[in-house]
């Protein structure tokens, strides 16, 4: 068989990172990387749907949209116009845990970007007109990604089953009735609480001088006052005492099955073992679910496992689009047999090598761009408490044993701990 040279080593050299905290609490992590004459500038606010409450679900995401509508120095529409003219683009995303803004741009535009980002952190304008327009845009986004999407509908239902108490039970985009209800006062309170420098970190990677960039950031952000303490999140969840089920009727062409379990929290040592379990079960053509459901029994068109680290225990999600005419129960049986088999026997040495090799390629690929590196440091700090963890992940994968994978599958993916949602095609019209 082949030579295995998946020696771990650090995924990336982060020794050159300049890490400082301004007196107002803003954390800076700056890294010079050669290669391309560009910089990626990422701002992470430690707020997501996890910090919301019923009645204003979706406010983190709606607010993300509001951040592009003008501040004191740069008014409405100016943010993207100025940035694009300087050879850059910006975007943002909201997750259960975080709201992340980024700009990727030609290195010469760095000061402009620092100016733009500090302007909206210091003095965002929140007006009714912008709120109404963004509300309409977000409603279209929800219609696109959830209401008219098989996966979107099922995922939303599944999270509502997997979580009963934790805020992860509602969707990041929020319920339509809450999107309609959120008011300007809600947005203003949200901004004051969560968008202060105390709750933010900046990661800049690329063709830059770390010391000079730190001075620049301090000059632009230094006067922004620190914020209030962040309200605690009610992160408890009652013990699950048996399988939970839901059914979605939708005018689809064929059935779909999605199953979910609560995994470990990002900071738990089991999180890396779950990454390997995910690859063994549901990533790639040679994964167990794909071999059994798609290539073997041909009951499914696709089969995969999704799993991403979250601050509190998140969802391990198995998804299978079934072949026409196949009943969900038949596909479920095979799916759960494969999970049970991995729980009983653990992965083979070959499966473990394969999982490590695929994860290594993925990590190297992700860390191969300025943007990827900035995002990885940001996620590592927000989820694990230390940006340096971005460079340690391959060593952590290398330390996972077959027994670890077996144990996490057996303990987290047990039958009595799962939730299942089936999409049943509605009658054809």
């Amino acid at each position: 068989m082949s030579r295995q040279t998946t020696s771990p080593g650090p995924a990336v050299d982060l020794a050159g990172v300049l890490a400082i905290t301004l007196p107002n609490g803003l954390r800076l992590r700056l890294l010079r990387e050669s290669g391309s004459p560009t910089v990626s500038y990422t701002t992470v606010f430690q707020v997501g749907s996890r910090n919301e409450r019923p009645g204003i679900t979706g406010i983190s995401h709606l607010f993300e949209h509001m951040m592009f509508n003008g501040a004191a120095r740069y008014g409405p529409k100016a943010f993207d116009r100025v940035l694009e003219a300087r050879g850059g683009h910006s975007n943002a995303f909201t997750s259960n845990d975080l709201t992340v803004y980024f700009e990727d741009f030609a290195a010469g535009a760095l000061e402009t970007v620092v100016d733009l980002e500090s302007d909206r952190m210091a003095s965002l304008r929140i007006d009714d007109e912008a709120l109404e327009q963004e509300r309409a845009v977000v409603m279209e986004e929800r219609r696109l990604r959830t209401d008219n999407s098989v996966f979107g509908l099922l995922e939303e239902q599944l999270e509502g089953l997997v979580f009963q108490a934790h805020p992860y039970r509602w969707p990041v985009i929020g319920w339509m009735s809450d999107i309609a209800r959120i008011g300007r006062a809600d947005c203003e309170a949200f901004f004051r609480t969560y968008y202060a420098p105390t709750n933010a970190a900046v990661y800049a990677v690329g063709d830059l001088d770390p010391q000079a960039t730190a001075a620049l950031v301090e000059r632009y952000y230094g006067a922004i006052p620190a914020g209030p303490p962040i309200p605690p999140v009610p992160s408890g969840e009652p013990e699950q005492r048996g399988e939970r089920r839901a059914e979605v009727r939708f005018p689809a062409q064929a059935a779909t099955v999605v199953a979910g379990w609560r995994g470990p929290a990002a900071g738990h040592p089991d999180a890396v073992a779950m990454d390997l379990a995910q690859v063994c079960l549901g990533a790639g053509e040679a994964s167990r679910l794909r071999k059994r459901l798609v290539h073997g029994a041909a009951v499914a068109v696709s089969a995969s496992v999704g799993w991403g680290w979250r601050i509190d225990p998140g969802v391990v999600l198995a998804y299978a689009e079934l072949a026409p005419g196949v009943k969900p129960a038949r596909a479920e049986k095979l799916l759960f047999q494969e999970v049970a088999r991995l729980a009983a026997d653990g992965p083979t040495a070959w499966e473990l090598r394969r999982a490590r090799a695929l994860l290594r390629s993925g990590v190297l690929h992700d860390l191969g761009t300025h943007h990827g590196l900035a995002q990885a440091m940001g996620h590592a700090e927000a989820l694990l408490g230390d940006w340096r963890e971005a460079g340690r992940v391959l060593e952590r994968y290398a330390a996972v044993t077959a027994a670890d994978v077996k144990r996490v599958v057996a303990s987290y993916l047990a039958p009595e701990l799962r939730s299942v949602v089936t999409l049943v095609p509605g009658a054809a019209r």
Binding site: S2, R86, F105
Partner: protein, 438 residues
């Protein structure tokens, strides 16, 4: 500020006709590899739409010496996934893998390209899976719209069907169709192998020579399809009665990739619909909140291209969105861009250009594109100069040409009963069931 660093390229045409292009690029210890074949879906025979795509997927399902599962296991245990893709002009196989796995993986790539076995059971399962996949695509209104607009814009031209094919054609496709298509079109003389990464060019060329030595086939000339006729104007309504949102597309004639005004099309496309500050995004999302997104661009293949607008909105505002979009396009064609818009868009495109070439994979794709479309050697190095040379008149001219000839088609996917009234003002309306698009 440093400029984009162009990796040194070493190339060789093997005796079989296979063109090998190696670019040495320092950085991440991965190597990106693409095998491009001029065997795209425009070569699908009549009644067998989807065949080119099926062949590209099926070669991975077994060779003379290895079964499909054995290939999967070998490739993935080396930290790679063997991808296959087909567009109207080309098929491609490729992977991104740790450098140390290249020797083995290049052997696998040569094996699947040259000696696929098309095992009976695997081909049959794959064909059924593709058929079922198309059925699932019916539940994705955006995918239905993308499929429908291709047919509406290109008509009977070989570009006029989606690469994934049609259900009734796939249902009739047999293993011998795959074997014949492969034997006819997958020839080294019509293929290019591109490798990019921290590799030694000489050793990598030698490796490619060894691994692909067994791939032979009589050289055949290029099978370029003719220029597509401009679209027949009208409105195509794809009925999806349960949707609460309408997927919308507007198409107009474009140009082939190699046509000289490509840079003007890039600038005009970005200005009209390629960024957050584009005219369409301003008018549709920022000013009116009609949609979460709108994009417009010129697409271009070897034989021809389109100007294409994509958006979506709730069913009630579909007519308004199309009206606003067409109004903005006509305004642009009549008046061209302002000086500020032009400066901003050129700055945007030139600033982002290095970001589009940050990885080995991106370079691999770019070098493949240069080969496929026969682009000049300064495609990358001359980008900024070409974009900076585009003036307002050139932008106005390419948009004017797309819109002036009245060959515009509008495609909508949603409840036809509610959409027909809103869209009839844009041309004669034809309603089809969603299944007919598949």
């Amino acid at each position: 500020m440093s400029a984009i660093v162009q990796p040194p390229v070493t190339r060789e045409r093997l005796p079989s006709g296979l063109e090998v292009v190696v670019a040495h690029r320092p950085g991440v210890p991965l190597v990106a590899v693409r095998l491009l074949l001029r065997a795209g879906s425009s070569l699908d025979p009549a009644g067998r739409f989807g065949l080119a795509s099926l062949v590209a997927s099926a070669v991975r399902r077994g060779t003379a010496t290895r079964s499909g599962p054995e290939l999967d296991a070998l490739v993935e245990s080396l930290g790679a996934e063997l991808g296959a893709g087909v567009d109207e002009d080309a098929a491609s196989l490729g992977f991104s893998a740790p450098v140390e796995a290249l020797a083995q993986l290049l052997g696998v790539l040569a094996e699947v390209a040259a000696r696929p076995a098309f095992p009976v059971g695997e081909v049959e399962r794959l064909r059924r899976r593709e058929l079922a996949g198309l059925l699932h695509d019916l539940d994705e209104p955006g995918v239905v719209a993308d499929r429908a607009v291709i047919g509406a814009a290109y008509g009977d031209h070989p570009y006029g069907h989606p690469s994934e094919g049609r259900r009734r054609h796939l249902a009739a496709t047999r293993r011998r169709d795959l074997q014949e298509f492969h034997a006819r079109h997958w020839r080294p003389s019509r293929a290019t192998l591109v490798l990019v990464g921290p590799v030694d060019p000489g050793a990598t060329l030698a490796l490619a020579r060894r691994r692909f030595a067994g791939w032979r086939g009589e050289p055949v000339g290029d099978l370029m399809v003719g220029r597509p006729a401009p679209p027949v104007p009208g409105v195509l309504l794809v009925d999806s009665p349960e949707s609460t949102q309408a997927q919308l597309r507007i198409a107009a004639p474009g140009q082939p990739r190699s046509s000289p005004d490509h840079a003007a099309r890039v600038v005009a496309g970005a200005l009209v619909g390629g960024s957050f500050t584009s005219r369409l995004n301003e008018a549709i999302r920022v000013e009116r909140g009609l949609s979460y997104g709108v994009r417009a661009r010129f697409t271009s293949g070897r034989a021809g291209g389109l100007f294409l607008v994509s958006s979506f909105t709730k069913v009630e505002t579909a007519g308004e969105l199309v009206s606003v979009a067409i109004g903005e396009l006509e305004r642009f064609a009549a008046g061209g861009p302002t000086g500020e818009e032009l400066t901003r868009t050129r700055g945007y495109l030139c600033g982002l250009h290095p970001l589009s070439l940050e990885t080995h994979e991106a370079w691999c794709d770019k070098l493949g594109e240069v080969e496929l479309y026969g682009l000049p050697a300064d495609e990358v190095a001359g980008f900024t100069a070409r974009i900076e040379a585009v003036d307002a008149a050139a932008c106005q001219a390419v948009m004017g040409r797309a819109l002036s000839s009245d060959h515009r088609v509008v495609v909508a996917v949603g409840p036809a009963a509610q959409l027909a009234r809103q869209l009839e003002r844009f041309g004669p309306v034809r309603v089809v069931p969603a299944r007919s698009v598949m």
